[in-house]
C-alpha cells in the first residue's frame, strides 16, 4: 500500500461507515420481513403465496384470486377520483387494476350510481371510502383489510392512503 493511499484510508473508512449506517437501515428492514414471514430459500418449493401475505394490499390480491372468473361480482367505488387532474390517481386503484388484470373492471364514481347496482349476496365492493353508515340498499360487512399490521410493514412495503373491502350479505 502506497503512503498516499495509507493517508487516505481513514477517510475512506469513515465515508464507508457513514454510508453503511444508511445501508444498515435497509438491512434492518430486509430482516423485518424475513422475521415476519419465516421463509427459507428453497430450490424445490414455491413460496409465492406465503410471501404475498406480507403485501400491504394482500386482501386485494386475495380477492382477485378468489373472484377469478366471477369478476362481475366485484365492484370498484372510486369516490376520490379527480377528473380535473389526470395525474391524481389513488394508489388503491393502481393496485386493484394490477391484481385483477387481465380483467379491467370499470369503476363507479358516484355514490348514487353505486346505489343503483342490483347487488347480490357475496358481491364485493372495493373502495377508497368508508361505507358503513351510508344508505346502501343491502347490508354489508367490512372485511379485514390487510394481512400485515401497518406498524409491522417495512419501509418499502408500506401502505399510504386507507382503503376498504365490503362483502354484501
Amino acid at each position: 500500500m502506497k503512503k498516499s493511499e495509507r493517508l487516505l484510508l481513514p477517510l475512506i473508512i469513515f465515508i464507508f461507515l457513514i454510508n453503511y449506517h444508511f445501508y444498515r437501515f435497509y438491512e434492518k428492514n430486509f430482516n423485518k420481513i424475513f422475521k415476519y414471514l419465516d421463509v427459507k430459500p428453497s430450490l424445490v418449493k414455491n413460496q409465492y403465496e406465503k410471501v404475498q401475505e406480507y403485501h400491504p394490499f394482500y386482501f386485494i390480491y386475495k380477492a382477485a384470486e378468489e373472484y377469478k372468473g366471477k369478476e362481475d361480482k366485484v365492484h370498484y367505488f372510486y369516490s376520490t377520483k379527480d377528473f380535473e387532474n389526470e395525474l391524481d390517481i389513488h394508489e388503491l386503484y393502481v393496485r386493484f387494476n394490477y391484481f385483477f388484470y387481465p380483467n379491467v373492471i370499470k369503476p363507479v364514481y358516484e355514490f348514487e350510481e353505486l346505489k343503483k347496482i342490483p347487488f347480490k349476496p357475496g358481491d364485493l365492493i372495493i373502495t377508497d371510502k368508508e361505507l358503513i353508515g351510508w344508505q346502501l340498499n343491502q347490508k354489508l360487512e367490512r372485511i379485514k383489510i390487510t394481512g400485515v399490521a401497518i406498524e409491522d410493514q417495512d419501509y418499502f412495503n408500506k401502505r399510504g392512503q386507507p382503503f376498504y373491502i365490503y362483502k354484501l350479505l
Binding site: 500500500m1 475512506i12 454510508n19 430459500p41 424445490v44 413460496q47 395525474l87 418499502f156
Partner: protein, 461 residues
C-alpha cells in the same frame, strides 16, 4: 418439480451465456483484455440486449407464445454445451487461472449483498410505477402473445400506464413469467437486481483497470461506499426501469473511455460497435435512452473524427446491421403506437411564457437534490467537489480530451432539463417524482469519470 427460484437462477445464467457467447464470436480480443468484473458486466449487457431484441421482435409480431419452458431449456442446454466446450479447450491456459483472486472478491461482494439478494427474492411487488407501468405491462405480455392482441393497449382505463413507453423491461420480466408459466413478481426482482449488481461489478473492474496501483481493500471499500447509497437501495430491484438505464449508461461510459484511450484503430472500431449496441439498448428501456443514443453517436463521431475513414468493411456492415435492427424495431413500435393512437410522451410540450423563472426553478430543484443527504449521504456532495477540482486541474493543464466523457453526462442532463422546461405537466409534480431517478441514471457514470480523471491526473503529475 423445480421452483421458481431455481428457474430465475437459470434465466440469469441463460442471459449471461447468450451475452458471453456473442462476445466470443466477434469481440474475443476485447473480452480477453479485460478483467472478470468487466466480462460479467459486458456479458450481462449484451445478453439482455439480445433478449430484448428477440422479445421485441416476437411481441411486435404476436409470437410471444414461442417463449416457453421447453424452448428455454433447449436454448440453455445448447449454450451450456457450447460454453463448456470452450472452457475445456482453454482451461489449461494461464489466462483462465489468474482470475482466482477476482472470483474471491466477487464472492465477498455477493456475500456483502446477501441480505439484499434475499430481500429481492422474497418481497412482494408494491412500488407505484412498478404496479402502474412496468410490471403491469409485464403481466399483460404474459396473458397476450404480443402488442397487437394486448388488452392493455386497447382499454382506455389503463391509460395511466403510459402505454407509449418502451417495453424492454416488461418483456424481460414476461419472458421469465412465460418460462415458469406463472406471474411471479417476487422472484423476478432478483433478475432486476442483477442490473444493480453488474453496475457494481463494472465499477470495481474499472477501478482495477484504471487505478491498478491501489490495494484491493481500498478498491472494495470505495466501491461499497458508493453503491450502498439509499437511492440505489430504493431502485435496486423494485420494478422500476431506472437501474437498467443506469447500467447501460455506465457500461457505455466505460466503452466511450476505451474509445478515447484506444491505441490501435482495429481495437477502437470493435469498441465502437459495442458502444453502438450498449447505447442503443437504452431506447428499448426508457424514453431517456433516445437522447442518450443521439449524444453518444455525435460524440463518438467527433472523437473518432478522421479515423472514421479507416473503418473496415466488416465494421461498416456490423454497424449498419445494429442501426438497421434498432431502426426496424423503432419503426414497427411507432407504427403500432400510431395505429392504437397511444400518443407521444411529450404531447402538448411547449416553451412556456414563464421560461426564465421556470428554468430557475429547475436549477433550484437540481441543487436541492445534489445536497440531499437522505438520498446520497455525503457522497454526491463529495463527488461534485472532487469532480470540480479535477475539471479545474485538467482545464488549466489543457487536457481537454480527458473531459470528453463528462460531456455525455452534461448533455444528458441538458436533455433532461429541456424536457422539464417544455413539459406540459406541473413542474413541482414532475420534478418531485422524477429528478432523483434521473440523477440515479447518471450517478454510476459520474463515479466512473472521477476514477478515470484521477488516473489520468496521476499520470500527469
Amino acid at each position: 418439480m423445480y421452483s421458481h427460484l431455481l428457474r430465475i437462477i437459470l434465466y440469469i445464467l441463460f442471459t449471461y451465456l447468450i451475452g458471453y457467447n456473442l462476445l466470443l464470436l466477434r469481440y474475443k480480443k476485447t473480452l480477453r483484455k479485460n478483467n472478470l468484473f468487466f466480462k460479467l458486466g459486458l456479458s450481462w449487457a449484451m445478453g439482455n440486449l439480445i433478449l430484448m431484441v428477440i422479445l421485441y421482435g416476437l411481441a411486435l409480431t404476436n409470437n410471444l407464445n414461442l417463449v416457453n419452458y421447453r424452448n428455454f431449456s433447449l436454448g440453455l442446454w445448447l449454450l451450456i454445451l457450447i460454453t463448456s466446450g470452450r472452457f475445456f479447450k482453454n482451461w489449461r491456459k494461464k489466462s483462465a487461472k489468474i482470475q482466482k483472486k477476482d472470483w474471491l472478491i466477487l464472492f465477498v461482494l455477493l456475500l456483502f449483498f446477501s441480505s439484499l439478494i434475499k430481500y429481492s427474492l422474497y418481497t412482494p411487488l408494491n412500488a407505484w410505477d412498478a404496479m402502474a407501468i412496468w410490471m403491469l405491462k409485464a403481466k399483460s405480455f404474459f396473458y397476450a402473445n404480443g402488442v397487437w392482441d394486448n388488452l392493455l393497449y386497447k382499454n382506455s382505463l389503463l391509460e395511466y400506464s403510459h402505454r407509449e413507453y418502451p417495453i424492454g423491461l416488461p418483456l424481460l420480466a414476461a419472458g421469465y413469467y412465460r418460462i415458469i408459466n406463472f406471474v411471479n413478481d417476487q422472484t423476478v426482482q432478483l433478475y432486476l437486481l442483477f442490473f444493480y449488481l453488474n453496475t457494481i461489478f463494472l465499477f470495481f473492474g474499472f477501478m482495477k483497470q484504471w487505478l491498478s496501483k491501489i490495494s484491493t481493500l481500498t478498491r472494495t471499500l470505495v466501491t461499497l461506499s458508493l453503491f450502498i447509497l439509499p437511492n440505489f437501495m430504493l431502485y435496486a430491484h423494485n420494478g422500476y426501469a431506472d437501474m437498467l438505464m443506469s447500467f447501460y449508461i455506465a457500461i457505455s461510459m466505460i466503452l466511450f473511455i476505451g474509445l478515447i484511450e484506444g491505441k490501435k484503430i482495429k481495437d477502437k472500431m470493435m469498441i465502437m460497435e459495442l458502444l453502438l449496441m450498449t447505447s442503443a439498448a437504452g431506447m428499448l428501456i426508457k424514453n431517456e435512452g433516445y437522447s442518450f443514443l443521439v449524444i453518444v453517436l455525435i460524440l463518438t463521431g467527433l472523437v473518432l473524427g478522421k479515423e472514421l475513414k479507416k473503418i473496415s468493411q466488416s465494421n461498416i456492415v456490423v454497424s449498419l446491421v445494429i442501426l438497421l435492427v434498432g431502426l426496424a424495431i423503432q419503426a414497427e413500435w411507432k407504427h403500432f403506437t400510431n395505429v392504437r393512437g397511444l400518443g407521444f410522451t411529450f404531447t402538448g410540450a411547449k416553451i412556456l411564457a414563464n421560461g426564465l423563472p421556470r428554468m430557475q426553478a429547475i436549477f433550484n430543484r437540481y441543487l436541492l437534490e445534489f445536497l440531499n443527504t437522505d438520498h446520497y449521504s455525503l457522497t454526491l456532495i463529495l463527488a461534485w467537489l472532487i469532480a470540480m477540482w479535477q475539471y479545474s486541474y485538467l482545464v488549466i493543464r489543457k487536457k481537454f480530451r480527458i473531459l470528453w466523457p463528462s460531456l455525455i453526462i452534461g448533455l444528458q442532463l441538458a436533455a433532461y432539463t429541456l424536457i422539464y422546461f417544455i413539459s406540459p405537466h406541473p413542474l413541482d409534480w414532475q420534478m418531485g417524482s422524477s429528478v432523483y431517478r434521473l440523477i440515479l441514471h447518471l450517478l454510476p457514470a459520474l463515479f466512473l469519470i472521477i476514477v478515470y480523471q484521477a488516473s489520468k491526473m496521476a499520470e500527469l503529475s
